[in-house]
Symmetry: C2
Subunit: 131 residues, 2 copies
Amino acid sequence: MSNRKKRMTKQRKTILRVLKHTKIHPTADWIYEAVKKEIPNISLGTVYRNLNVLAEMGKISVLDFGSTYSRYDGNPANHYHFICEKCGKIYDIDHPLFDIIEKEINETSEFQVNNHRLEFYGLCPDCQTKN
Amino acid sequence: MSNRKKRMTKQRKTILRVLKHTKIHPTADWIYEAVKKEIPNISLGTVYRNLNVLAEMGKISVLDFGSTYSRYDGNPANHYHFICEKCGKIYDIDHPLFDIIEKEINETSEFQVNNHRLEFYGLCPDCQTKN
DNA sequence: CTATTTGCAAACGCTTTGCCTGATT
DNA sequence: AATCAGGCAAAGCGTTTGCAAATAG
């Protein structure tokens, strides 16, 4: 799948160009509507397929977990998560980075930060040793 | 909705207890299966409803992105995002925190961090002034 | 040529909701 | 008694997929 030859069809090119020329981090549907102005009979399925292909090729990136499951956490206090890329387990990370990070952004940008969310990806201790 | 009186039913209590006693950040379905061992005729809808109520009450937290839509980004390079809580716009934040943050966690925990994801929430410049 | 891609529509899978009965205060 | 919660099943909704026709290389 990932190592097959990719064609640069009119649809794929247009989707990529539209996405490269906006800063609003659009949804698939927004892209669909935008591309439809050039290719009126394009289908939403094609947009989704191409967005996935383009992400696979590393030309764009996807924000969000799509339609995966929500996870629930019995601890309502602010803390970070570590997600193991091998076994999929989610761990809590207690580290006092909160204040530092928000202070830093508040001081170096015009944004007013009220909250943030930070997730780490990598290998958990178990998966580092096993194999 | 949020300010109505909440009853602590057997179902709600059990769901909360099960969630408080695990560290695996389970999915709704996992919770459903676990609670079913105590309340065999509980329904999945009840689990979802109660998870939402418990989150509203601040007793648990939900790990997802609030929105069900995926967002696409024409910039595949690593960067952070700022999401305005008022107008919903998503902005890029370019700040050289990447190396510092990963180094910090790599040095103070047994996790091997390969990547991370950081999002800020608050008010964008426009929404700070426009009352 | 022929493997990839498209358009269409149906299927998917997680989550929410409507309705009515049952439980709680 | 009045209100809130539960069970069940169907609907919602963004996303994926199967298939025949179209097309890039």
